[in-house]
């Protein structure tokens, strides 16, 4: 924000100067000759501001863009694993890449794992994880939480990472064996994700409504964990 404010101030000043130069041009030729140089000197720092703002992604290689996005997604995942640093910054630039990957991944891992008809379909798992987080988010908004819809969707989706890791472990390496171990792994994932989501969402509600916000979040992760333990 700060750099933006400076930039706009710079532009204002520049425009004023340009206008002054225009009037100077009218008065005399010699002043007009020297004017472009001084203005180009002034433009130097302003161009730097442009580069810092990172909005000009047209010129850079595609690989840089992808790498930067992957880095931001990775930073959010690391926040879920080990809560640290500034959460507000993380909430401000939300994205839905992480939730998308996790939803699709979970649905792929859990569909027809038992090989029987009774296991959930891809659609069912995807619907429960995706629309589940939408409903939990709608619940937060309806209760009057001061967090935007997509911020909350982003938080709840990213906090599915521990159950997703548990699902990978359970259905790829421990499929059908060692039930106590799978139960342990899934419970750890469940507690972890609930704790991480609490850290993000606890501040957005008045005390009297906190339990009403927490319970659906708890229920959502519990259901996802139940699907993981019973279909891996």
């Amino acid at each position: 924000m700060n750099s933006f404010g400076n930039a706009s101030v710079d532009i204002d000043m520049l425009e004023r100067e340009m206008a002054a130069e225009q009037t100077a041009n009218l008065s005399g030729n010699i002043a007009g000759m020297s004017a472009p140089k001084s203005s180009s000197n002034r433009r130097g720092p302003m161009q730097e501001v442009d580069l810092d703002a990172e909005f000009d992604t047209l010129e850079e290689p595609v690989w840089d863009t992808v790498k930067r996005d992957v880095m931001t997604v990775g930073a959010k995942f690391s926040h879920v694993i080990l809560p640290h640093g500034d959460k507000q910054q993380l909430l401000r630039d939300w994205d839905l890449w992480g939730p998308l990957f996790i939803c699709v991944g979970l649905a792929l891992l859990l569909q027809h794992n038992g090989g029987t008809e009774s296991a959930p379909q891809f659609t069912q798992v995807f619907t429960i994880t995706f629309f589940g987080s939408v409903i939990v988010t709608a619940n937060i908004k309806l209760l009057g939480g001061n967090i935007s819809f997509f911020q909350s969707l982003c938080v709840i989706g990213y906090c599915l990472l521990p159950p997703f890791a548990a699902a990978v472990l359970c259905s790829l390496f421990l499929h059908g064996i060692a039930f106590p171990l799978r139960l342990l792994i899934t419970s750890i994932g469940f507690v972890w994700s609930t704790y991480a989501a609490m850290g993000f969402l606890a501040g957005c509600q008045p005390d009297k409504k906190r339990l009403l916000v927490i319970y659906p979040v708890f229920l959502f992760y519990f259901i996802v964990s139940w699907m993981i333990i019973s279909h891996s």
């Binding site: 038992g114 069912q124 209760l143 009297k208 409504k209 009403l212 229920l219 519990f222 279909h231």
Partner: protein, 265 residues
Amino acid sequence: MDLNFQNFENVNSTNEQSGAFGGNIGDRNNLVGSGASSSAPSGGVFDDSQSSTSTRKGNLFSFEYYQQFFDVETDQVIKRLLNSVVPTHRNYIQDFLQPIPDLWGPFWVSVTLVFAIGIFGNLAQFIENDGAKGTYGSDFRMVTSASTLIFLYVVIVPLLLYGLLWNRRSELLHPYVDLVCLYGYSLAIFIPVTFLWIIDIGWFRWALIFMSVGLSGTVLARAIWPAVQNDVNKMVAFGTIITVVVLHFLLAFTFKVYFFDSMHT
């Protein structure tokens, strides 16, 4: 639906008020003093419900319309949950739901019940199978059928009831949302019951059914009775209450037979 209802309510209320305008305050005092017993004039009761509905406004499709039904606090929800199980009060709708019913409770009680049935039903069948390999918890169809059944029950039955009250020109026309809220909270007792249904003893399951339907059916009947008690046709009044309780019993019976006992047949 709601728009319709508001129109008719307004028409009704003007008729009512022109008749019994003078004694309104006195009537209400009477009502508080003697309880909602048989001969209480309708003015006070009606006035209450009317003032509560007049605060609800907004477009049916706007976010704010639904936000007003989520304006509850934790202890209020806990009070409503507990009292939907223990019928120690006179009228659930008037004592606890008015002036503002919430939809948080009905929705999350229903969702919890759906997944409680999914989880505990699978667990019960696993135990009944003596833990045979590969039979645990993979029946996801329980969740889909339970959610269909429960959400139909919570949406359709109050709608029918509301239609009946409107059709019989009931003096105490509860708003549709109040009835949905009543029905949603009345399902709360089945959540612990599904947990106890894991125990595979026939008479124990039956005892749980009768106990739970007895408790929450009483709450339902007592809440709906004042709305139908002054009906000219007594058969309709009693028939409504009996149908409500029987439907509630059938719901619990379906849970038991379809989700918990299916291994025995």
